[in-house]
Amino acid sequence: MSALQFIEGPLFYFAAAVFLLGAFWRVFGIIKIGRKKDISPPKGSAVGGFIKGNLRHFVPRGLFARRTWLHVLGGYSFHLGLFVLFFFGAFHIKFIDQYLGLSWQALPRWGFLIAAEIAFAGLIVLWVRRISDPVMRLITHKSDHIGTWLTFLVMLTGCFALQQSHDMLKLVHMLFVDIWLIYFPFGRLMHAFTFFLSRGNSGATYGRKGINL
């Protein structure tokens, strides 16, 4: 078994298992904690607040929009760019097809490159904002840095391997993918699965109190 076969085979299965089980366990644990029983009479819908709280956070509030436009732009650029390049990159679709038997239309190469440019620009903006803003520095945990850099390295090694000229470059990319998957449940990358619970919790609390979000 070659190193690439090992990294794409047993190590990938292990990493994917840690990712899925770990992420499920974290989300399950958060839901299991539940919420403290609120004995006050409800003035509005908690469920409505949960949904509204989630949707409302997708748009910056007018009061803060001028101050946060860069953060918002960086956030959307990175997440949308990453979504597109992961789910519509030809190599990724082929990879998913290999394991799950699912396939769909891939982006042309130029589209993939533009998505990658947007994702990289967004990620760099988010990280340099993190180190340039004193308030952000105070609320930043080392896990934020590790998660950001691991994601950056996965993307960077992926772009290094674009020419598909050497197995070694694919090996390095897949190795970082495996590391990223294993680290995911243990750090703040988990926000990908928990953000809706956090937003929803605040939304439900306010919704029950009848506060217009």
Partner: protein
């Protein structure tokens, strides 16, 4: 990152060791490049012999040549400057600028250009040993003054991040063959160059975005002023003496315009290389590779000076780009005119 400036202040000796280590390492790489070139000199094989004149024209040792035939094929003197700049000569079967380009790239750029950043680092190391860091006279006041907005800082670090990636990948593409291949092998160099090329091409467009962003955020304070002449005559105060300055001094303004102007050339030539069908004449591509490499290495060299002054070379400088705030005494000492504009107080009378 929060304690970065403190660490810089507390461990200059440690940093000096790192700088010296880097300098020695890079000098070794430079010497290695020269040695590689020395080994790869082209010469006639040891068993080469001259044929008699009537037995063919390919005289190995060069007593007889077919220069007239080759001149005709090339359409004239290939070394004439018109060959590089003018239209292809009448009757020329092929142009020879490719060979000139290759000789320039192999014989000059790859051989000597990499020394420029090394020389800059060497000079900075010597300057640091002799002069040491420029401390804030009277120490820190504890009071700060706002210098850069968050967006300006993000624009700066965005450019820095993109430039570092492009610089590293670009140097690997340019110098991989003489520096990496002889030591790690052709296969390793091929892998690294393939990776560097893809990374360089992908991050290139981000450099253009960074350049436009940086220009918009900083151009307002970077126009030259008559007081900048004093900065030039006093060597920026690096060898002592006070130099009056506005928000940016002459050195900072020069660096800004270097980044903007040379960066624009790098961006334009990069676009030509990325989309070669934009130009019809191959000489534009040849010219682009030369200008791109020369401009980039020039910026990399001067960048070391910028990093030096922004970190270990001048106490308190890094705060401006990490926190957006600088100590008032730093502002009075290095940017007194700007300090007075910002606070309405005199920098001399209020010196604490």
């Amino acid at each position: 990152m929060h304690d970065l400036t403190t660490k810089f202040r507390r461990t200059p000796a440690g940093l000096l060791r790192i700088v010296l280590f880097l300098v020695l390492g890079m000098v070794w790489m430079g010497v290695a490049t020269q040695a590689t070139y020395a080994q790869s000199s082209v010469r006639a094989p040891g068993n080469a012999v001259n044929l008699p004149d009537d037995q063919g024209s390919a005289n190995t040792l060069g007593n007889v040549s077919d220069s007239e035939i080759w001149d005709a094929i090339r359409g004239g003197n290939p070394n004439a400057i018109e060959a590089l700049t003018g239209p292809r000569p009448e009757g020329a079967v092929f142009n020879t600028t490719g060979q000139q380009w290759r000789m320039l790239r192999e014989g000059v750029i790859r051989k000597y250009l990499g020394w420029f950043p090394l020389v800059v680092i060497g000079l900075l190391a010597v300057f640091y040993l002799l002069r040491g860091p420029m401390r804030i006279t009277g120490g820190r006041s504890g009071k700060t003054i706002h210098r850069f907005t968050l967006n300006a800082r993000v624009a700066h670090w965005f450019m820095a991040g993109v430039f570092i990636i492009l610089g590293l990948t670009g140097l690997m593409i340019l110098l991989g063959r003489p520096l990496i291949a002889p030591y790690l092998g052709l296969e390793a160099n091929s892998i690294l160059t393939s990776a560097a090329k893809e990374g360089h091409n992908l991050f290139g467009p981000l450099f253009i975005i960074a350049l436009v962003w940086l220009f918009i955020k900083f151009v307002g304070s970077n126009f030259f002023h008559i007081r900048d002449l004093k900065w030039i005559f006093k060597f920026g105060g690096f060898f002592g003496g006070h130099v009056s300055s506005g928000r940016f001094n002459f050195g900072e303004k020069t660096w800004f315009w270097m980044v903007v102007l040379i960066g624009s050339v790098i961006a334009a030539t990069g676009i030509v290389m990325l989309f070669p069908w934009l130009v019809e004449d191959v000489r534009w591509l040849q010219l682009s590779t030369i200008l791109h490499a020369v401009g980039a290495v020039l910026l990399i060299g001067v960048l070391f000076g910028h990093i030096y002054v922004g970190t270990i070379g001048m106490e308190g400088s890094l705060d401006s780009m990490l926190k957006g705030e600088v100590d008032e005494n730093w502002a009075k000492e290095h940017h007194d005119v700007w300090y007075e504009q910002m606070t309405g107080k005199s920098a001399k009378e209020d010196q604490s």
